[in-house]
């Protein structure tokens, strides 16, 4: 028997089935756990173990709220929203702002690349480390939309549904965030 008996079902079909059969929800977890883990890591400064607990908590919350999922949003968008709220709650519980977010060097390059050409030689590790610091120090409101837009590659509409802000506000935050990122990089003479 297959390890994933529900693999052929759509997300919406799995949601309906999961209300009666929690095993079907396991398939949704399997589909989205990595994305949620990566997203939570990019949004926070928690350890791997804490992140796994957070992602698990987010999926359990999603299961509790399955009746509120009406198909108006994609399941992934809805899941991102729950994960975001779970991470924010966890940060508040710890009563600390993220000091250094868990962006890897590829992430830093992705946020930066569309305006400044990356040198082919990406051995400039110090430079990308500096850039990561700049991104990590940005206000959370900017950082989260930049992460969603450029790292999670979400559309403006999806970001609007995840952060529950109007599309115009999302667009403004992305533009201002990028501008701030580039200005700060220029001020620190970061030219990766």
């Amino acid at each position: 028997m297959s390890d994933r008996p529900y693999a052929d079902l759509t997300d919406n079909g799995l949601v309906e089935l999961s209300k009666e059969n929690p095993d079907a929800f396991g398939e949704l977890v399997a589909r989205y756990q990595e994305r949620m883990f990566r997203y939570a890591r990019r949004m926070s400064y928690f350890s791997e173990e804490d992140l796994e607990d957070l992602v698990q908590e987010a999926f359990v919350k999603a299961y509790r709220g399955l009746n509120a999922f009406d198909g108006d949003l994609q399941f992934s968008t809805w899941m991102y929203r729950i994960a975001r709220n779970t991470v924010i709650d966890a940060i508040r519980r710890k009563q600390a702002r993220p000091q250094t977010v868990r962006l890897d060097e590829d992430d830093a390059a992705k946020l930066f690349r569309s305006d400044i050409d990356l040198r082919a030689d990406l051995e400039a590790k110090d430079c990308l480390a500096l850039l990561r610091g700049v991104i990590g120090a940005m206000p959370p409101a900017y950082r989260e939309v930049l992460v969603l837009r450029f790292l999670e590659e979400k559309s403006y509409e999806e970001i609007m549904d995840i952060v529950r802000k109007p599309k115009g506000t999302v667009a403004a935050l992305i533009n201002r965030g990028r501008k701030q990122l580039l200005e700060e990089a220029e001020r620190l003479h970061i030219k990766c």
Partner: protein, 266 residues
């Protein structure tokens, strides 16, 4: 990372977690809809009271008073409390709408326009249905004396003899003059002529309440350029007396016809 699917399913089964009923997940959204509706009603009522408090300020007064004095009177006696409350209700209504389940999707301009429209339509309807008159009167009667002017600045507008505005209850009517007990309890003699403009329903009679626009010609005497008879239930305070609306509707001039009744036009 490790595979969480088995852990999540095990936890759901062990803790016997079941999906919550939909209303439990969405009660906040419903509460914000309710709050928005409440704010629209509060805004509409405040707007209605604001309209009511400026409705006696006919733009034609500007011609009588002069534009500058008209602006001064309007500025000094505008219903700031109701205007501020309307704006506060608008802001809270927009905010509440934004917090409903899909409220974040609409643009700020759209939401604001929607709430402004709802408040305006209901506010004007409230004014047309005279809800503001009843509410204004109730507030005027029950407000602490010091705050009366805040709730009903309309009466204060007619207590500015220096600007040529005086209002109150008619206590005696003679040919080409009548006595007026102003809203603050002082006796005034009002002189009028054939050229005095008459506005408002009913006649100038003992017990009726009027607003006079004119020129101060003595310590307690004003020559009227325009006299407005307020509706019997203006500001919710029926005139004192024994007539159907409190005051006798006969005139006590005893000196033949006066131009006041004859020229009643409204």
């Amino acid at each position: 990372m490790k595979d969480l699917s088995k852990d999540v399913v095990s936890k759901i089964k062990e803790d016997r977690i079941v999906p919550e009923p939909r209303f439990r997940s969405e009660w906040k959204s419903h509460a914000f809809w309710l709050l928005m509706g409440l704010m629209v009603l509060v805004g509409a009522l405040s707007l209605s009271l604001a309209i009511f408090n400026v409705s006696d300020l006919d733009p034609r007064l500007a011609a009588r008073l002069g534009l500058w004095r008209f602006v001064v009177v309007l500025t000094a006696t505008a219903p700031y409390l109701w205007i501020a409350l309307s704006f506060l209700a608008l802001a809270l209504g927009v905010r509440a709408f934004r917090n409903t389940s899909r409220g974040y999707r609409a643009s700020a301009l759209f939401v604001t326009s929607l709430v402004v429209l709802a408040i305006s339509v209901l506010g004007v309807a409230g004014h047309a249905l005279k809800l503001d008159r009843h509410m204004g009167g109730m507030l005027s009667r029950n407000a602490p004396p010091r705050l009366g002017g805040l709730f009903s600045p309309g009466e204060g507008r007619w207590l500015r003899p220096g600007d040529g505005l005086i209002g109150g209850e008619v206590t005696d009517v003679r040919a080409y003059e009548f006595m007026l007990k102003s809203f603050d309890g002082e006796e005034w003699k009002i002189a009028y002529g054939d050229d005095t403009e008459r506005r408002g329903p009913g006649e100038v009679a003992v017990g009726s309440r009027v607003g006079v626009v004119g020129e101060r010609v003595g310590e307690r005497e004003i020559r009227a350029l325009s006299i407005k008879v307020f509706p019997a239930d203006w500001n919710g305070k029926p005139p004192k007396g024994s007539g159907p609306h409190g005051g006798p509707r006969f005139r006590r001039d005893g000196h033949g016809a006066s131009p006041l009744g004859a020229e009643a036009s409204e």
